[in-house]
Symmetry: C2
Subunit: 416 residues, 2 copies
């Protein structure tokens, strides 16, 4: 019998009515001859409410206790979903992460899954239960409750699909799949039929936050295929899988846009070992997330170091770095905000040359100035003025013909 | 070192501010040289909110899933309380019922505690932690989550006090202790210094719902002393303990009033075996809780059977019983509502005769008609018109001198 793992996000279980819809979907999947394991997130808003309570009590809540607290959101939603299945005449049982056998390390708030012993899941499945697992959580070997970080239910689903050797893993969300670009930005954006893990990882880091990155990394490590699709309709979504030779025929899989970026440049930094470490140690200690880091070749024993952060953190970062600039003997700190990062991603870049040139030329023709460039093997990211971001995305989408990208197969699938 | 178990009810942890107050109390107790284990209920309203969600999803939620769902209320409150202690510079860790080692049978929604293995509690205590246990919940030997019934946190606290061989068990609530009568009814009502388990049990069944009855039964079975006191002030409360000879010097410990009662009388029931069973089987099957049952000696082969229920259930009960009356060959069903039950309780009754006579006489003098009487060894309960209930309570309170009852010791204690 086919075994399917389905994950439903917070929006999909946001109201009692939506939970009932999820229950119907689970029963339908079962009636099609599948064993069904569902991973459920907390109802939309529930986690934020719990966090608000925590912060009313403590400005720095203990991480162990935060995990105890936040795990109740998924725990409750899983129980409600099981009730909904039972109310429709089905047979379901909910399990906490611990009961589902999800063992993690001791890193509260961002634990890593160490092992899964799905004994109880197997028993329930063989008794014809639909098994509803609370996402986002696990326990240490000592029995302490842990959580897997924001979006951790994706990881729960993918790891369970791996441990159960599932035939399919479906991530139900509030979008129809992975698109060539955000359809709110590019009207002609197309849903992808498939995407390679690495592409999805680069896209997730570039604004298209459909999936938790750690979940995708886990899927990649253990070659677990999964599908991202909508819980609000019946269209097929996007399959994430290991890359295949045929995938390289496409130069660029997608474009993503990150807004509200700020850039900091420390000018004339002495080119000595340890200097960069000193700069970023101070920034990290203040819990400021650094995105791109660019350092040019040095000239005359000094170099410029630039990096980007969310613009909300700019004042904070400036305050921290001003004294550091003096200490390390650099000349000055320049900052600017109102920027956006535009990333183009595709494993096809490996075998197609000239992608960067074509992209830069396209932007240049449109008079859009590039302020920073950073690349990986399968990504080119540029920082530009935020006001130019949407226009740039549309131009590049057209330049690389992304609207024609989706294969005939995928188009046919989406009609089913 | 003294080990103290403290239980805080839903009102005591109803807001972040109140949770912080509880945390202060826990730290104060620890600073007085005690090891502290706290049992926490769900924040006031949380359980009702969860129940409302459940009933929006299912008219008859699965009991297993209800337990999964409701346990999250206490679980979250325990985590928040631990955070509050930590935020004040203390050292606390929260545990679910399962983590605290509370093993129960498989009776979902009203499980009985089978065993407690407080290994983790002992370890945390010896590391100087204040241990915060989520009340109301446990797990089966198979690891399924169970709850202990409404008010089950009392049971958690008392059972833990027993298992840990605690030096004190304090039940913090929103009342100052157990009173000779509800002070809203009798102005001169006095807080009791002590009460015997059996008295408290009879009082709990008679409107004074301070404690879960099963918790008191558990305390009685294992001779676990506990104190009922207020979380909003520092007054000593009422100690519940095994009865002692000196307790019998007091004829009546307290009076309780149950309002909104209805009486049903099935007249001229054939006096044959099995008839009563048939009547009450039907009532029980409809989940109607029957309180008093009175059957008089039969005359001419027939007898009258009366019983009381909450008046909200009267229509339902009437509908169920009308056909039964015909089937069993009884004459008719009389019903009346707008009644109250007045109970006087005291182990002193065993050694003092004439208590009932004095009570009936007192009510008779005041022109208050008694409609039903039921007695146990330590209780006399009468059903009267609800409009007479408060007056009756005041008259009996005065008749038995309950305002003078509280011992000098207890009075002195309450000044501390």
């Amino acid at each position: 019998m086919r075994l399917v793992v389905q994950k439903y996000g917070g929006t999909s279980v946001g109201t009692p009515k939506r939970i009932q819809n999820v229950a119907r979907r689970l029963l339908k999947t079962q009636s099609e001859g599948c064993q069904v394991v569902a991973v459920i997130s907390a109802m939309a808003g529930a986690t934020d409410n719990l966090l608000k309570l925590a912060h009313q009590i403590s400005s720095h809540p203990t991480e162990r206790e935060l995990d105890m607290l936040l795990s109740t959101g998924e725990h409750a939603a899983a129980a409600l979903t099981a009730m909904a299945v039972n109310a429709l005449g089905g047979r379901a049982a909910s399990l906490t992460g611990a009961q589902a056998g999800i063992l993690t390390d001791r890193n509260y708030t961002k634990a890593r899954i160490a092992n899964i012993s799905p004994k109880q899941i197997h028993e329930l499945l063989s008794d014809d239960y639909i098994v509803i697992v609370a996402g986002f959580q696990g326990q240490t070997p000592e029995g302490e409750t842990t959580t897997l970080g924001r979006g951790g239910s994706d990881l729960t689903a993918i790891a369970l699909a791996g441990a159960l050797n599932a035939d399919a893993c479906q991530i139900f969300t509030d979008v129809d799949g992975i698109f060539t670009c955000d359809p709110r930005i590019v009207k002609g954006a197309k849903k992808l039929g498939e995407v390679a893990y690495d592409e999805l990882l680069e896209m997730a880091g570039g604004g298209a936050k459909v999936m938790q990155s750690r979940a995708v990394e886990f899927a990649k490590k253990f070659s677990i295929e999964f599908e991202v699709r909508s819980s609000f309709n019946k269209s097929r979504g996007t399959i994430a899988r290991e890359e295949r030779a045929s995938m390289e025929n496409v130069v660029i899989r997608g474009i993503s846009v990150d807004r509200h970026q700020a850039k900091l440049t420390i000018a004339a930094v002495p080119d000595k070992p340890g200097i960069a470490g000193r700069i970023f140690f101070n920034v990290a200690a203040a819990h400021i997330v650094v995105d791109m880091i660019v350092q040019n070749a040095s000239a005359g024993g000094v170099t410029d170091i630039s990096f980007t952060i969310h613009e909300d953190e700019l004042e904070n970062a400036r305050r921290i770095l001003m004294p550091v600039v003096g200490e390390i003997g650099a000349k000055r700190l320049n900052t600017s905000s109102g920027l956006a990062k535009l990333s183009v991603v595709g494993i096809g870049m490996r075998s197609h040359s000239g992608v960067a040139a074509r992209m830069f030329e396209c932007l240049g023709r449109a008079g859009i100035n590039i302020q920073l460039v950073s690349t990986s093997e399968i990504k080119i990211a540029v920082v530009i003025d935020e006001k130019d971001a949407e226009r740039a995305a549309r131009l590049i989408h057209a330049e690389f013909g992304l609207a024609r990208l989706v294969s005939a197969t995928a188009a046919a699938q989406s009609l089913k």
